[in-house]
């Protein structure tokens, strides 16, 4: 039986032409496997969270029909589900992966899940290249983003990187399942860092693949980096506290709360309040030590907090 590759995206808002353009790039990327031996059975899964207007602001029927046509021409099947609630990224991806396991597509041993942001465009050989590097060692493979490359570090020799961005990552279904999927406590940010750290704590490699290129539609500001939205600021602040909690880095929690109190925007301070609420109501996720039965030393060697980031950035 041919390997199955399931590309999953969680949609929230966005214009229909942009979504269709992304799907066309997926269709073209399906042909990219032709140069890499046997063509896999390819599925495109879309989990629809609606949009800013509400969870029922889902994709129009005509757009869905067009999406079907675009994908069908390339032999890619579409698995569309309207969640009718805003699940957030990680939980949405988990739901989509569960649908695969539930029989929409059998999650065989060699099968691969690809997590993709909707505001992207795949270069033609991107998927095949990315899937091609997955082996027994490499738990997660991550694509290189253009035009703005992610500044986190990686080894140009081995490709090893501290964590993989959820913009475009591939991993075997079995690995995703054994890791228990994304931690749903993260809504939008940090779930990719968390998943990567857990993979590494399990002894798996996380690999950056420069030759697999994905266009990520980020617009530049004069800082040379994209400007985060207010919502992103909130989610990023909350994610940092959650990651520090899982890694049991009280020092990071303390300094982050202190920084947010003094310098944070209103939304960022709300994130701090939300973290403290979850803490007092014991709603926080388990620590890595508890969840994975690893030593504090192992956690320290993997979970890095550096100047507000999760690795020492290259630039």
């Amino acid at each position: 039986m041919a390997m199955a590759v399931r590309v999953q995206t969680v949609r929230y808002g966005g214009d229909a032409p942009d979504l269709l353009r992304m799907l066309r790039s997926v269709a073209a990327a399906a042909h990219g496997f032709e140069d890499h031996g046997s063509a896999p059975e390819l599925t495109m899964a879309i989990g629809d969270c609606g949009g800013p207007e509400g969870p029922d602001a889902t994709v129009d029927e005509e757009v869905l029909t067009e999406a079907h046509e675009i994908l069908a021409k390339a032999g890619v099947s579409l698995d569309y589900v309207a969640f009718m609630t805003n699940t957030g990224h990680g939980a949405g991806q988990n739901r989509l992966a569960e649908r695969a396991a539930d029989g929409h597509r059998p999650g065989g041993d060699g099968d691969v899940l690809v997590m993709l942001n909707p505001d992207t465009y795949l270069s033609p050989n991107c998927l095949a290249t990315l899937v091609g590097v997955l082996d027994a060692d490499v738990g997660i493979a991550e694509a290189r983003q253009i035009p703005l490359e992610h500044p986190k570090p990686f080894s140009p020799v081995t490709g090893d990187t501290p964590w993989a961005s959820g913009c475009l990552m591939a991993l075997r279904s079995s690995v995703f399942e054994s890791l228990g999927g994304f931690e749903p406590a993260f809504f939008l940010h940090g779930d990719d860092v968390d998943l990567s750290w857990r993979a590494r704590l399990r002894g798996l490699r996380v690999r950056h693949v420069p030759e697999a290129v994905v266009f990520h539609d980020k617009r530049l500001t004069e800082t040379g980096f994209p400007a985060p939205s207010a919502q992103e600021e909130y989610q990023a602040a909350l994610a940092r506290l959650l990651l520090a909690h899982r890694a049991e880095r009280r020092d990071v929690i303390a300094s982050s709360l202190g920084w947010l109190e003094v310098h944070g925007s209103e939304l960022q301070r709300e994130a701090a309040t939300e973290f403290l609420r979850r803490h007092s109501e014991e709603e926080l996720p388990a620590t890595y030590r508890e969840a994975l039965e690893v030593s504090p030393e192992e956690v320290v060697s993997v979970a890095c907090f550096h100047e507000g980031e999760y690795a020492e950035h290259r630039f």
């Binding site: 465009y121 140009p156 617009r219 530049l220």
Partner: protein, 654 residues
């Protein structure tokens, strides 16, 4: 009826066949080899086969004897009976023919030819007098077909037509003048105005294709008046500037009459007719009704770095604005390079592939490929993205917004620079991908400054879109003689014609290869020479600068004048110092002399020398400080210093 500056020898009364008929004046111009008649005879000799030369609208047949004597069978035709009678009286064949007759002209011509072969049909300064020139051209096409049906070869068509796009007319029209005259370029009886474009379109519409030309060139036409019109002053700024623009548009600004020969295109059929009249485009940014894309993107590809081409194309395929076409330019004639680029393109989704063309182009210079691309582009605007450079998803969209806000202007966004290096051999994970060293760094200004661009280029080509009308109307091209800086020169020349609309958005990223800097850095002499060449070509004509430039230039000139003042002060300081040195030497001389003789003065002299030496040291020190600092902007202290030194000398010498 030549439209030369000369007056006709005689003008007969204008004919009129009654109300509604158009009077055609009958002129009696003498033949001259320098005028349109002589040029037309040359073309007949060069292009026509033996046989009849049919001179339609012949008037008094100025070319009759010349053609007959050269061995042609001359047949004149005119509707003026007096003129025809005159022609016949000179022993030439003449017929009364009305060229404006609506039907049957071709049949009538066949009839009077009586089976003779026709070498040429000539129309000398005639069609501009016709209410409907296309009817005559149609009749001649019909004549050609009738002759062919009869086994006779097709005649060449030789015409002389006045040029209303002569520079004199253009300059005066800018000044609001359109001086209709009794004869000449704006003969008051002209019913039609012709430019080369119109002639090509009208003749082409009936299957006539130019096969030879011998235009009459007049630096100054009969329209060169009044001589003191501000726009006609040779060496005047507006005159010279307009002339430089007019010269860029085409080669016709000094052509008085287009004297040209045409052959029928054998494959032409009446169904090939299209409207020759240009349809005015809406005066908005929407452009022509024809569905050309907004933007043509020219991408140079070596065909040797497929992954870099794929990245550039990925950026283009991901553009929010899809109203773009991409022309991938592969320089050289290596089929492998072409195939490699084509394979990369084909790997994209079909909707995008349909918008991409891969073209092999000349490779003799860096500019050659882009110039070839400019010819291939269809978009209303043209932008440039080389493989290796990257753009954000709103790159084309920002250009479109700029063009919408300021149609026809050059649109400029901002390009950032990120530094990359080639991976080392052991860096296996990289494949062919460069290692990124920096985030995109701001290096180029947010706004276009025309004056500073004369000194330095802060606008990489990937950050501009230029209206293609600059290419089609003014034939703007990259200078293939420039080994470097050709993009800079191109951009400045474009910007100084149409101006620049800034979007202010950073939308492109140039990759700079850090580890290859030494190998790829162009020697500064080459840059300087390219820069000098660019300036000298701009210096050749008056320069147009955007509003606000006067203030900027005044400021720059002020700075320059301060610098000149400083230079003068510095020279004065040097002179004063030298004077002080001389005074010191003189004092030393005196001392030596005194030591030999009058020792009584020694002590006082020694004291003076010590003083002089101290002040000389002081002055030297002050001079060094002055020269090393920005102090020169303030000249008053410098003057004080000079006075001090001079005063010292006088003190010392007293």
């Amino acid at each position: 009826m030549p439209s030369t500056a000369s007056e006709p020898d005689e003008v007969t009364a204008e004919e009129s066949d009654g109300p509604g008929q158009v009077p055609i004046p009958i002129y009696r111009f003498a033949f001259s080899w320098e005028g349109p008649y002589g040029h037309a005879v040359h073309l007949v000799e060069r292009h026509a086969r033996q046989g009849v030369v049919l001179d339609l609208g012949c008037g008094y047949a100025a070319v009759g004897e010349v053609l007959r004597d050269a061995g042609w069978e001359y047949v004149g035709g005119d509707r003026d009976t007096d003129a025809v009678a005159d022609v016949v009286s000179r022993g030439l064949e003449g017929h009364v023919i009305d060229l404006a007759m609506s039907d049957g002209l071709a049949d009538k011509l066949v009839e009077l030819l009586e089976g003779r072969p026709v070498g040429a049909v000539i129309l000398l300064d005639i069609i501009e007098h016709l209410p409907d020139p296309s009817a005559l051209l149609g009749a001649l096409t019909e004549l050609s077909a009738l002759l062919a049906a009869d086994g006779r070869h097709a005649p060449v068509l030789v015409t002389s037509i006045p040029n209303v796009a002569h520079f004199d007319l253009a300059a005066k029209l800018v000044g609001g003048r359109w001086d209709v005259t009794p004869s000449g370029l704006l003969d008051r009886t002209h019913l039609q105005m012709f430019t080369e474009r119109r002639i090509d379109a009208e003749f082409g519409r009936f299957g006539w294709q130019e096969c030879g030309r011998d235009d009459v060139v007049l630096e100054h036409s009969d329209q060169w008046f009044p001589l003191d019109h501000p726009f006609l002053v040779e060496g005047g700024l507006v005159h010279d500037y307009l002339q430089s623009l007019r010269a860029a548009a085409d080669d016709n600004m000094t052509i008085n009459q287009f004297v040209r020969a045409y052959r029928r295109v054998p494959s032409w059929s009446p169904s090939d007719r299209r409207s020759p009249l240009p349809v005015p485009e809406a005066a908005t940014a929407r452009g022509p009704a024809i569905d050309y894309p907004f933007l043509s993107v020219l991408t140079r590809s070596q065909g040797t770095r497929p992954s870099m081409l794929a990245e550039a194309l990925t950026c283009l395929a991901a553009q929010t604005l899809e109203d773009i076409e991409v022309v991938v330019l592969v320089p050289g004639d290596d089929p492998g390079a072409l195939q490699s680029s084509e394979a990369v393109v084909r790997s994209f989704e079909e909707g995008f592939v349909a918008r991409v063309r891969v073209e092999q182009v000349r490779s003799d210079s860096r500019s050659a490929a882009l110039n070839a691309g400019l010819e291939l582009a269809h978009g209303r605007y043209v932008a440039f993205l080389d493989e290796g450079d990257l753009v954000t998803g709103d790159w084309a969209q920002r250009f479109a917004e700029g063009a919408e806000g300021a149609p026809g202007k050059l649109v400029r966004s901002v390009c950032d620079v990120r530094h990359v290096r080639r991976p080392a051999r052991e860096e296996e994970a990289m494949g062919a991908v460069p290692v990124t060293l920096t985030k995109p760094l701001a290096e180029f200004g947010e706004r276009f400054d025309a004056i500073s661009h004369l000194a330095v280029n802060t606008t990489p080509l990937s950050s501009v879109a230029l209206p293609r009308s600059l290419v089609t109307e003014l034939h703007l091209r990259l200078d293939e003689q420039l080994a470097v800086g050709e993009d800079w020169d191109f951009l400045v020349r474009a910007a100084l014609v149409v101006g620049v609309e800034d979007t202010g958005h950073v939308t492109s990223i140039h990759q700079r290869w850090a580890d290859e800097a030494a190998a790829t850095t162009v020697p500064s002499e080459l840059w300087e020479s390219a820069h000098a060449k660019m300036l000298s070509s701009l210096d050749a004509a008056p320069l147009l600068l955007p509003p606000g430039s006067a203030t900027e230039l005044a400021f720059l000139a002020g700075d320059a004048s301060l610098a000149r003042k400083h230079e003068a002060q510095r020279a004065e300081l040097e002179r004063a110092l030298n004077e002080a040195r001389v005074a010191l030497a003189e004092a030393q001389e005196t001392l030596r002399f005194s030591l030999r003789g009058e020792s009584a003065q020694t002590e006082s002299l020694l004291l003076q020398i010590e003083q002089l030496q101290r002040r000389a040291r002081l002055a030297e020190q002050a001079r060094e400080e002055v020269l090393a600092s920005e102090f020169w902007r303030v000249t008053a202290p410098l003057r004080a210093l000079v006075t001090l030194i001079r005063g010292d000398r006088r003190d010392a010498g007293s």
